[in-house]
Structure formats: structure tokens, C-alpha cells
Symmetry: C2
Subunit: 363 residues, 2 copies
């Protein structure tokens, strides 16, 4: 398989070497950029798209950050490979479904991915474990400058960066954080939080972006606005609201453990029992159970070292990864037994749950 | 506690020495009898009830079968003790709620219990593991004859035995079998079976008789009619319908394992995982999970030796037994954690589930 090296390489988000935080799983910034002298990909002729693809990939390939990375064009990938890249948040659903003259360049550690000829000519993304908005912005800003040295960006002094969709015009930036919010979900406060986040002009989505639901208590919070505000202001506002949500989640967890400890212990115990014993597990149920195991780490019922296993499985239970592990295509109606087997095996040697939270105390 | 010896004694239905069948858990016959010269208990004056109680208990005590048995009057028992007796099917809900001048005599092996001053002066019951209608009828018939030697039964040559409620007049006999029918329940055929059983004039009830539901896939099938038909005919008809239900359950199980094996393995695996890990379990959920563990024995996913553990727990998860084991009163809202702990402990050393049913093959 063309993407095997990429799947088997150490990657920050999938090998657990840089553990994600208790609440913020990952932070991501992407920039939409277009080149002058060619229509946006949706309007470009095939020859123009081909030109842009080869020119862009050449420039991207020369970036120091891309040394040891993977250059992948969509026409050479199977649907399964595309799905796997999507499940790793390396390509968008849109790129997954297009074929002609488009592709992605993924850095060796998979923290950086640049899509070519998605909705815009370039979609530059940086993605890291934990809450690192500032660090990522510095990185992607430098990267953007390097690219601009060799590519002529479409830029208007009045509007800023020009993009295919008007919602991206201006900074072309979308910054987001992926949060695990079991406390707010279990105490039924998520609706209130979503309202609060929306009120300050930020969006809340599920694990797989726009249109996906919040399975596994995972929510993505991102800016909506790209025009009339500097990158720094946008990131400052996002950082503030993320801090507020983190505080609310912390409080919700404390309150839950104080007021409904027995119910939480029951839920976590059952989740563990089902993961170790079920023979049919849908992707949705699996994510919800994994969410509870992650929460078990948070409250000291499992050792901190188990976080990496759970986070890796959040990705590995997805249909694409499941089929990759099985080594063959598995029809949708045959996936639940495979997923259940994978999880039984993965949780077979789980340390016993300490329902008094004593794994926390010993640390 | 007055009934401690009785709880801790070896009893056929609770210690698993006489294992119940795969489908028929137990068979029971009870006879309603009344004495001449005194009104039925509901109409009798307190002095008359006292007379009947002492006279009857004296006669019952002298029966050879009652040697080593327990003589219990309701006024000397706490509500918890009465509840425990009811959960062991030794006294009725009606006797449980009455206090004055009534009681029960339970044989040493608890297979025989005679209530005095329930709805009728005497309610004689024999109860055994497995399907043993004929054996029980011979036993209870002999017992009835022995009692009649010393007690003057109210009997009409035209109607037969006279009883407080006209539905018992005639033979005064109700014969029933307790069946475990997970195959018919899981394949949604129970409604059809209940209709069939009702059509031939038999009744279907839940684990605790009239008005109780069929939690744990346990159903009680019994005769309704007591008049105009001999005991032998009633028992023959019951035996026939029981055989028909057993055949249907057998077929349903085979078909389920052939057509929905993965779903059944999943259900059984989850049941095991939840019993070993839950921290809150209602009585109803516990019975439903135990039912699946019993089914696991039936299909060879657990060794036959585990049947006794499951059957014992069907009784021990009931509120009365739970409080007895805890050694103190537990308020209803505090019972679920206790029940979950009991089951976690009881299933801690369960042998691994063999999902290929290989425990059956090695036997």
C-alpha cells in the first residue's frame, strides 16, 4: 500500500509519544491560499490544475519541514488509502472525493500537511497534540512565508488573501482545538456551552469537522471569521474561550465525581467490561466507550500511561484503519465484529480499574 | 435471625446439588384445603384463626417429611424475613402481608411448605428442581392423605374440595412449572407461545407469580381450572403443553445460534462484562444478565458446573436476600450498588467464555 510507511511511521498524534492533554486532544491551524494567474480549483481547467499541482508540490517538497515526508497524489491512492488519511485528519472529506490533479504533502512526523487543489489551491495545516495555538501559529506562519518566497499568492490589499469561498477571505485562517468533554456531556451541560461558544462567533463541531456529530464526547471549537480581524486577535479570542471551556469541563468533572461518583464508576466499569467482552461494536459505540476509558485515566481509575492506548484507538477503530489492520476490504456490515475483536485484544491486558482513583494519588 | 438456619441449610432449589434442567427450572404443585367447622381465614374471628393455626401446625409437625423442618408464625418474623421466604417461593405475597395467626411449616430440604391461614386454611406446596410433575404429585398426594387422617377437610361430594375463592374449588390444585425461555424471548416468539398456552386454558406468569413480569426470561406456566377435571387429566394436559413449549424453545435456540450467533455471542459477552464490572445493578437488569449467563451454559460457552452459581444468584440478587447478605437494612435506592458488588464478587473467578461453545463438546 502506497501509504504504509506513513501509517507505520511514528506520528505525534498516533503513537502517544507526545501525550495529549486531559481536555485538549490537539490543536490545528490551517491556512487557505491561492496562486495568482489561475482560476480557483473548482473553476480551473484540468491542464491548469495539473500545472498548479506540479508547481506547488515542487515548492513544498523543497521545504526543510517536508524532508522525509510523503508526496501523495489522489489518483494514485485507493479509496481505502484516502479514507485512512482522512481518519488521521491529514486530508479533508472534499479532497477524499476528488481525483484529478490534486494531492497532499505530509511531513515526516505528520504534524504538517499541505493539500493542493482542494477547494483552494493550497490548504496548509499544522496539527499538534495538546493546546499549542501560539506554537503552531509561529510554525505555520514561517511555513507560509517560505512558500510565498516561491509561489505568487493571490492577495488583495483591501480584503487580504483571496479564497474560493468568501467565508475564508481575509486571513484564510481557521484555527481549532479538539476537546474531550465527558464531564460536560455526562452532566448535560454541553448545550449551554455550545450556545456560549456560538455567541462569541466561534463554531462547535464533532470529531470529523463540519456535519459530524460529537461521538465520543469530542468537540472541535474553531473560529468562523476570517475577515476584519488580525490572526493574533482571532487566536486570542479562541484561546480565551478555550480556557473558559476547559475551566467549565474541570468543574463539571469535579462536581460529577462528588455528586454522582457511583454512576460514573458504574459507567466506566461497564465500558471496560463491554470493550473486553463485546463481539459487535459500531464505530459510534466504540468511540463512546473509549471516551469513558479516557475519562477513567483523567480521574485516576486507570494509569496515565493508558492515555496513549486510548487515543491511538480513537483513530484505529475507524473503518479505514480497521480494514488496513485486517489486511483486506471489510464490508460495512462486517466491520462491527472486527472492531469488537480489535478492542477485545487491545484491552485484554488493561490494568485493573482502581475505582477509588488511586492511580492519580501514586503519581 | 429466626430464619437463619433455613437460609443456610442445604436446599434443593438454592444449593445446586440437584441441578435444574436447561429449560425447566422447577416444578411445583400446591393444594388448597380447608377444615370443616370454621369459616375461611378471611371470615374467621381471631380466636378461630388461632385455633386452626395451632391445631394445623401440630398435625403438620408430626408428619415424617417435616422432621428437621422449620415452624414459623408470621407474628414472630420481621418484614425482611418474610420477604426472604417469599423470594425463596416458600410463602405467598398474601401471607407476607398478613400478621395475625398465620404461618408456614417448611420441610428441612425446603421442598415442602404448608401455609396456614393464607386465603385457605391450608396451602400445601411441593417444589422441586427440574420437570417432575408426576413425582411431585405422588408426593403431595401422600402428604395430603396423611394430613386428612388428622384433619377434617371441607369436601363436597358434588364440587370436591371447598375453597375460599371459587377458582380453586374442586381439586384445589394448581400445578406449575418455571421455565427459562431465552431462545423464545430473544427471537421474539414469546407472545405467540403465550397465546398458544392461553388457548388451552393454561396461564403464563412471571418469576413471582400473578402480576409479576417475565424478567430474566423466566415464565411460569400453570393450570387455571380446578373443577370438572381430575388431577390426572389436569397434569396430563400441563405436561403436554410443557413438552410443546420445551420443543419450541429448543428449536428457537438452535435457530438463533445458526442465524444470529454473532449477536448472541455479543449479548452474552456484554452480560459477562457488565456483571464483572458494573457498580449499579437493578434487580431487573441483574436477572436479565443472569438469564444470559444461564443461556451461556446452555450453549456451551460456560461449563455446566456454572449453572448452579447462576441459579443460586437468581434468588440471591433479590432485595431480601441482598439485605440478609449485607447484614443490615438497605434502603431501596442503596440496593443497586450492593447488588453490583455482590455480582462482581460472585463472577470474579468465572472461567473464560468459550465463544465456540466448546465447553459442551468436552462433556
Amino acid at each position: 500500500m502506497r501509504i504504509t510507511p506513513l501509517i507505520e511511521a511514528k506520528a505525534e498524534l498516533t503513537d502517544g509519544t507526545t501525550p495529549a492533554g486531559s481536555i485538549v486532544l490537539s490543536t490545528r491551524i490551517r491556512l487557505a491560499r491561492n496562486l495568482t494567474g489561475a482560476p480557483f480549483p473548482g473553476w480551473a481547467k484540468e491542464a491548469q490544475r495539473r500545472d498548479i499541482l506540479s508547481k506547488s508540490l515542487e515548492v513544498i517538497e523543497a521545504l526543510p519541514i517536508m524532508e522525509g515526508g510523503s508526496r501523495l497524489t489522489m489518483d494514485e491512492l485507493s479509496p481505502l488509502e484516502k479514507q485512512i488519511l482522512h481518519e488521521r485528519h491529514l486530508i479533508s472529506r472534499e479532497l477524499m472525493s476528488s481525483r484529478q490533479s490534486c494531492g497532499v504533502y505530509v511531513s515526516g512526523d505528520q504534524s504538517c500537511a499541505i493539500m493542493v487543489n482542494e477547494e483552494d489551491h493550497l490548504r496548509i495545516q499544522m496539527l499538534r497534540s495538546g493546546l499549542k495555538l501560539k506554537q503552531i501559529f509561529n510554525g505555520i506562519n514561517g511555513l507560509d512565508d517560505s512558500l510565498e518566497l516561491n509561489l505568487d499568492y493571490a492577495f488583495s490589499p483591501q480584503y487580504g488573501y483571496l479564497t474560493a469561498c468568501p467565508t475564508n477571505v481575509g486571513t484564510g485562517m481557521r484555527a481549532s482545538a479538539m476537546l474531550h468533554l465527558p464531564g460536560l456531556v455526562l452532566s448535560n451541560h454541553m448545550e449551554k456551552v455550545i450556545r456560549m461558544v456560538n455567541q462569541v462567533g466561534l463554531a462547535v463541531r464533532g470529531l470529523f469537522g463540519e456535519g459530524s456529530d460529537a461521538t465520543g464526547s469530542v468537540f472541535q471549537i474553531s473560529n468562523q471569521q476570517t475577515l476584519g480581524e488580525s490572526e493574533k486577535d482571532i487566536l486570542g479570542r479562541l484561546q480565551n474561550i478555550l480556557q473558559a471551556v476547559i475551566t467549565q469541563e474541570d468543574n463539571a468533572r469535579k462536581k460529577l465525581m462528588e455528586e454522582a461518583g457511583a454512576k460514573i464508576r458504574d459507567k466506566i466499569g461497564r465500558a471496560c467490561g463491554i470493550l473486553q467482552n463485546a463481539h459487535l461494536l459500531s464505530s459510534e459505540e466504540a468511540l463512546n466507550l473509549l471516551s469513558l476509558m479516557r475519562f477513567a485515566v483523567d480521574v485516576g481509575m486507570l494509569p496515565e500511561g493508558e492515555r496513549a492506548r486510548v487515543d491511538r484507538l480513537f483513530i484505529e477503530v475507524q473503518p479505514g484503519h480497521l480494514q488496513y489492520a485486517a489486511g483486506s476490504t471489510i464490508e460495512p456490515n462486517e466491520r462491527d465484529p472486527w472492531r469488537a475483536r480489535l478492542l477485545r485484544e487491545q484491552f485484554d491486558d488493561l490494568p485493573p480499574l482502581n475505582f477509588d482513583g488511586s492511580y492519580n494519588k501514586s503519581e
